[in-house]
Amino acid sequence: MSSLITPIDIASTLPFIVLCLFGMVVLLLEVFQRQGQSRSYLAYVSAVGFATAAFSAWLLMGVEGQLVFHDMNYIDGFSKVTALLMCTAGAVTCLIAPRYLAELNADRGEFYALILFSAGGMIMMVSAADFIVFFMALELMSIAVYALAAYVRSSRVAAEAGFKYFLMGAFASAIMLYGIALVYGATGTTNLAAIGQLLSYGAASGSVDPALLLSKVSEQGALAGAAGYDTTTGDLLMLNYGSGTANMPLLYLGITLVIVSAVFKVGAVPFHMWLPDAYSGAPSPVGAFMASAVKAAAFASLLRLLALAFFDYELRMGPMGWVQVTFFLALLSMAIGNLVAIAQTSVKRMLAYSSIAHTGYMLVAITAMGYGVGDLDLGASVVFYLFAYVFGTVGAFGILAYLTRSRYYVERFSDLNGLGYRYPALGVAMTLFMLSSAGIPPTAGFIAKFQVFKAAVIAYGAGVEAGEPGALLLLALVVSGILFSVVGVYYYLKVIVHLYMRDPVREVTASDSGPARVGISVCAIATLVIGLFPGPLLNLSEQAMSQMEGRHDGVYVQYEDGAPIEDLQRLMREGSR
């Protein structure tokens, strides 16, 4: 280690640093704020913070992708693009919050600070190169969001939602940690890319030159940080994983626990139970933040995790590889999410279940990504879907927040009756968000669904060509996905029906907040513009996927028995000396 921290280290984590700095600034401003003064300017300060972070991420687009901070973190296209996503969601959340908080007598600066810190955690999570950073970032994000969920102390519902969310989250964290520990035990490293390379090597045998493999492994610089290789006498026992004597239950146990808890975070059925309670119990702006930014971060990091560490053919397509798991989770999520959403009377809960359904659609793309030979570029459809989804969701929650006034929460469908005429712009915006969520052109959601299902059909085509078994199941997944999205139209339409085709039962007055108007308009315009001109964003999401550093497409060799393992061990030993 020549130097502790290099300038590129600092530069690459600039978005995170900026967000943390703004978080602290907001905390300090809050300290010097007198009681009873309005804090809504802090919303602008935080929005500026997010804009600065997004801008720094944008500036870093030009930097070549690489490992930084002693192989702990990546600076690459993927982390920067997803950082933009998180910053947008965070900024809009901050904009819709102030008047809502003031109406509930909870207007405090800590809210914005927590949002900023949490977004910082997300940015680190999607750029993590090591399980340690991944876990720390996950906790940084989660702990801030736990606090936000229970932020409105006067609300009994929020208190309960926060507690439940926290308890489930802590449980999931423990599960994930146990999984990480087992994976670490089985491979000897916590570096994501190194794990991926090692697993892949273990599954391989026969036809590749171990020296070539080793050079590829060290090109990535991944193994350099794995101390197990350069300090010991060289008993590389972790390489026992392999297809011949294959089964290494500990490793599979660990991987399963890690993937399951990651899937828990995105809220896929059957690990979804926390989600409706958390989204609907939390204050609307926090619901918006959870449904958009947190979910986006969880999905993006799931992509990173799968692409770097667990993309080996055996792991994906083996007798019970994760493709099968995501297949069923996708199917269940689409089914349960859409069907249960129909039965809801609360818009917020409906949005929560619909968010589960969206999880299902994105899992379809992830299944497609992992299917067959495995085409990581198909993950771009998930990134694009996240953008479309974030705007639609944060906007819809934002409208609920915008309509909430002094302790009367606008949550039920009937609260929206006739509002389309009373607030025409708001009605149009809500209609746009619903159409986008339902996937009706020309909104962003249509292109997103198109991309996701197209990805699955492409994977099906490639699977048929490669003679993979069960390719037809993938097509069945697409068919059921489209059918369930037809079901979904019903409840999105219900919102529009209530907006325009029911007479108001109660006078709902909007809180009439300027920042919220800005935030909602941004989402509405983005939803429409992305729908009409999706080109740049499609390019951006493709770029994100193709420029993901350390992604597992170096080694695709299939070994048939464990023979060359000894060779590799020898080579590595020699190489490390």
């Binding site: 507690f163 439940k164 308890l167 489930m168 449980f171 999931a172 599960i175 239950p249 599979y252 146990l253 399963t256 626990l257 399951v260 828990f264 059957p270 690990f271 139970m273 926390w274 409706p276 309670d277 019970m320 099968q324 798991v325 069907l339 249960v340 129909i342 039965a343 005429y421 025409p424 009706i440 052109p441 020309p442 249509f446 292109i447 198109f450 991309q451 299902f453 197209k454 059909v457 492409i458 697409v478 068919v479 489209i482 059918l483 999205s485 037809v486 079901v487 139209v489 019903y490 339409l493 029906v497 325009y500 085709m501 009409l532 001109f533 999706p534 080109g535 499609l538 390019n539 493709e542």
Partner: protein, 669 residues
Amino acid sequence: MQDIPIYEFTLLGWIALLPLLGAIFNGILGARLPRALVSTVAAGAMGVAFILSIVAVWTLFQGRFEGADGHTLYGALYHNVFTWFEVGSLRVDFELLLDPLSAVMILIITGVGFLIHVYSIGYMEGDRSWWRFFTYLNFFVFAMLMLVLGDNLVVLFLGWEGVGVASYLLIGFWYEDDEKASAGKKAFIVNRVGDFAVLLALFLLVIYAGSLSVVELREWASTLSPAQVTALGGVLTAICILLFIGCTGKSAQIPLFVWLPDAMAGPTPVSALIHAATMVTAGVYLIARLNFLFVLSPTAMTLIAVIGGLTAFFAATIGVVQNDIKKVLAYSTVSQLGFMFLAVGVGSFFAGVFHLMTHAFFKALLFLGAGSVIHGMHHEQDIRRMGGLKDYMPITRWTFLVGCLAIAGFPLFSGFFSKDEILWYTLANVHLLGGVNLSWFLWFLALGTAFLTAFYMFRLYFLTFEGECRADEKTRSHIHESPLAMTLPLVVLAVLAGFGGFVGIPPVLGNALGGLPNVMHDWLYQVIGPGEAFFAYRFEGYGMAWMSMAAATASGIGGIALAWLFYGKPSDVPGAMAEKAAAVHRILSNKYYVDEFYAATVGRGVTLLGRVCHRLVDELLIDTLLVNGTARLMGFLGSVLRVVQNGQVQRYVAFVFLGIAIILYLVLR
């Protein structure tokens, strides 16, 4: 096939944009503006769009030249608005394309659309949501123009969804009425069922053809070798059938036709424009547009023909027993749409589009006439309580009669020509399904439909306009002819319905009359040529063609005569005759026996299929599963959720724990 030149033409963008601008203007400001301004803007936008369409079509016409095979070609006009998205090799341009086929369509859409806008000014007078109506109507026209002008199938799909949304909004326009609101919902959901099939077809096309642009698809299809076609056979059939499923939803064919009769809940101009003249014909348009693709799958083609023929026939039988003036027209629309699908299914894309056009004229006319009647009789729709209206509303009566003659296929009226073409091609081409040639079967089906059509349409005419007025005194005192804004479009449409058929004189007549050209066919040849090239006549000479025409004419006139016999004869049958054959007299004078007969035989027997569809699709799928069934679903979900989502966090953890255990078991077993 010769390459078709394409010219840039910016005006196309404006044709589509004008109705959208009208919709946006009225949507935002309409509530605060005076009624006259709202309607002027809406109808004005349509009028200008119509004029621009004429200009565009004229420009297209000017560019004609003689193709390599001796046919006149016109090329195409395009305007690339922008590149919508570009992913990998797939590039979706938001490109508008005007070729002879879309030229016919935009003339119908903007022309008939303009007339119906004018008519609506009279019809919707006094409605409190006047501006909303015109906003939706303009928006519909915009979406419909997207559908027919889009070169890319994704743009077409955008219009396809857009017309669905507009139709939903307009059917449920009087949403205060729950039944009407749910009719709108039903239409939308049935259409979504079809839309998903279209989406799947698009995905398959992306994979196998690599493009969704019609121009490029046509190139792709023309370069396929016979061996490739054989290899791709299953996929091509799947694509065609999936597209056709979408068409059955949008164009109300078996089994998805159930939404259209309910859609009559909307205002009558809407029924005329959307549910008769334009939107429901989108399916026919799609198949004609992609004819080069469909002909590659004979199975799909025959299936389309059979479904179309059956729909035509069964909808006609249902039409016979309806008593609601709009319901009769609705089933007649389903039936005529079946005719069009029969036409495209038997390989005569020209006849399909030709009938689409004549149908747009006479069905819009009939609907508007019905609207005029309903307007005049203060929202009375039951024909059993009408009669004798010819004295009260002469213009409506005469125009309506023209419409009836046209749809009945009375010689030299527009319907005569298009229907004859369809019958002829049905007979002349070979349609194999499972090795059996279905030509004669389909031909008789179509002939029967023609007969039934003539019969129920004139039943409608006689019951409405002839005989004694059966309305109560109060209503009768108010019956009046409609205002000029409504009668003017009727007259214009009556002229079109009367003489519109002469653009498509069949070769058999044309030859006999000294070489009159089939203008319509020549005009469309550029688009439908590749499709038609796949079929060859079975018969030499014109003998069978004369036979077919004679049979069609006879069945049409026979239907009219029978209707006159049952419903049109003066009620005072000479007494002498009554004495001689009292029983016959009783039967003849008591025309209700006929209805009872139909109710007993046709109503119960032949309409079984219709009922099965109704049960399966409407009641089971839509009502039970989606609309009313949500209550039951909610109950069921509630009981499940009470167990799962009971609010106890420890139970949630337990389920997560269980889920992990199950997955681990599967992974580690």
